[in-house]
């Protein structure tokens, strides 16, 4: 079943269009990776899906409902959570308060239990629950951002370059977490410059170039594709 279907999406800032008709689809329980160079429009695509950027044309359907042009906070209420680029945690709140903010769209009594569950999954966060988020290391902040997004119990989790600027060991840990989430049935749309790691865990991958999807295939096939290898994996043809 399709969770998200983007069709012929055009979007940009003011008069400059960044996305020139992007189409893609994400099925339930899949990890879909989007790779592309700097300036290809990856972040703009995510921001358009989450409602921060208004599309000029095209549709974004979440389980059949068109969410294009809705306000960002409403889209969160409908079940799309985004881990923004650069670990957009709330610096002046504690780890615990950040997680509570993650559950902002929920009103059920099980929030506290879910927070406990996040502390079990990410023990480093549990140990620092009353510390201000700004005092955490980069890796811990990214874990917090992911844990916070999960607190909303989203139908679809969007991640914008979760490995950016992190040590290799931490990156490995984050990709392991994403794979665990998939095993638990979560649907994930992952935007990454770290193409190799992203495509390895992805069921399906898209390549975005200058605002257009230029390739679409399974993660493994894209890893083997000579064009992708040359441009995004740094391998040179012998």
């Amino acid at each position: 079943m399709t969770v998200l279907a983007v069709k012929d999406l055009h979007a940009g800032y003011g008069k400059s269009e960044v996305l020139h008709g992007v189409s893609l689809s994400i099925a339930r329980g899949e990890i879909v990776a989007l790779i592309g160079a700097n300036g290809a429009g990856k972040t703009t695509l995510l921001k358009t899906i989450s409602g921060l950027v208004r599309p000029t044309q095209g549709s974004i359907e979440l389980e059949g409902t068109n969410i294009a042009r809705r306000a960002a906070h409403k889209i969160v209420h409908m079940g799309v959570s985004q881990v923004a680029e650069g670990r957009a945690i709330l610096n002046r709140m504690t780890v615990l308060e950040n997680l509570r903010m993650g559950a902002f769209v929920r009103g059920d009594p099980e929030i506290d239990r879910d927070i406990q569950e996040k502390f079990e999954r990410f023990p480093a966060l549990g140990e620092r629950r009353d510390r201000l988020a700004i005092t955490l290391s980069g890796g811990e902040q990214q874990m917090l951002a992911i844990a916070r997004a999960l607190m909303a119990k989203p139908r679809l989790l969007l991640l914008d370059e979760p490995s950016l600027g992190l040590a290799p060991m931490v990156v490995t840990q984050i990709f392991r977490t994403l794979r665990d989430l998939k095993t638990e049935g979560k649907t994930i749309f992952l935007v990454e410059q770290n193409a190799r790691q992203a495509l390895r865990i992805a069921d399906k991958g898209y390549v975005l170039e200058r605002g257009k999807i230029v390739m679409e295939d399974t993660g493994d096939s894209l890893l083997d594709d000579p064009e992708v290898q040359r441009t995004y994996l740094g391998k040179h043809a012998a």
């Binding site: 989450s50 906070h73 957009a88 509570r100």
Partner: protein, 290 residues
């Protein structure tokens, strides 16, 4: 003598704190220096006065009426001067709220005249003597209201869902929106809160000083601004403490160095803060961090 002055400073400071809290709340969520805030204070005082004089209201009714009136004024400010102006020009809401200041001041002058008006006695004035210190019932009442208000606001900001939404919005609008916070609504609630508090502060000021004027807003606005900078932009707790601090400094200067030195010290402190401690005494953040 010194104890009496410290008490007087506390009284003056508490009203500075109330005004500065509103400034700092609005600066927090919008990054906007809300110029009309002093005028909201003035409107609160006049609504209180009219309720007392023409409707025979007691002090509680006057406070309630002023709260409602200034809360509505907060809503009006958002729809008239904040939302319609483009977010692409950071200075636009500053200019439009300066416009609102002028409009409110002129309406007040038109309705109430340009003179200082006496505020009738609404609380029976009883003097209490504690050793060398004398406190009036009016002072105790105004201080109690101010402190209760600050404690309630603090609990609201720290412990409620809306309070957390306000703090999240103050850190970053996009981040807050991506967590499901309706940023527009948070801005509206913030204006309502800040304006209602300023309205109450206006009535308390009238009760305490028994005189109000349509031009009282400017003085208050400037003091509130100094307190906000002293406490750290967007820092509610900082504004509470810094208000009381400034009140004490002003009263002590007036008592020991002469009242002409009062504003001199206030603005000397402002300049020193801007030069050496631009994040405020309690070091929160700079404007660039937004």
């Amino acid at each position: 003598m010194i104890y009496q002055q410290l008490i007087n400073g506390l009284m003056l400071g508490a009203s500075y704190s109330l005004v500065a809290i509103g400034y700092t709340l609005i600066f927090g969520v919008l990054g906007l220096l809300y110029f009309a805030h002093g005028e909201v204070f003035m409107v609160g005082a006049f609504v209180g006065l009219y309720l007392v004089i023409h409707a025979g209201a007691n002090i509680y009714m006057a406070l309630l009426g002023a709260t409602i009136a200034t809360a509505c004024l907060g809503v009006f400010a958002v729809f008239a001067a904040v939302r319609p102006v483009s977010k692409d020009y950071p200075l636009a809401p500053l200019i439009s709220t300066i416009g609102l200041t002028i409009v409110l001041q002129n309406i007040a002058t038109y309705i109430f005249g340009g003179q200082t008006v006496a505020f009738p006695e609404t609380i029976e004035s009883i003097l209490f003597h504690f050793g060398p210190v004398t406190i009036s019932s009016v002072q105790i009442f105004t201080l109690a209201v101010a402190i209760v208000l600050m404690v309630l606001l603090w609990l609201f900001i720290e412990n409620t869902k809306m309070g957390r939404a306000i703090r999240a919005t103050a850190e970053n609008h996009e981040t807050a929106a991506l967590l499901g916070v309706n940023v527009n609504r948070v801005v509206l609630v913030t204006f309502i809160l800040a304006s209602a508090i300023a309205g109450i502060a206006g009535v308390l000021d009238g009760v305490k000083n028994s005189a109000i004027s349509p031009f009282m807003g400017l003085q208050v606005a400037i003091k509130g601004l100094v307190v906000m900078l002293l406490g750290g932009l967007g820092n509610v707790r900082g504004a509470m403490v810094a208000g009381i601090l400034l009140g004490m400094i002003e009263i002590l200067t007036a008592a020991y160095l002469g009242s002409s030195m009062r504003d001199f010290f206030t603005f000397a402190i402002l300049i020193l803060i801007l030069l050496y401690r631009p994040t405020g005494l309690f070091g929160t953040r700079t404007i660039e961090e937004r």
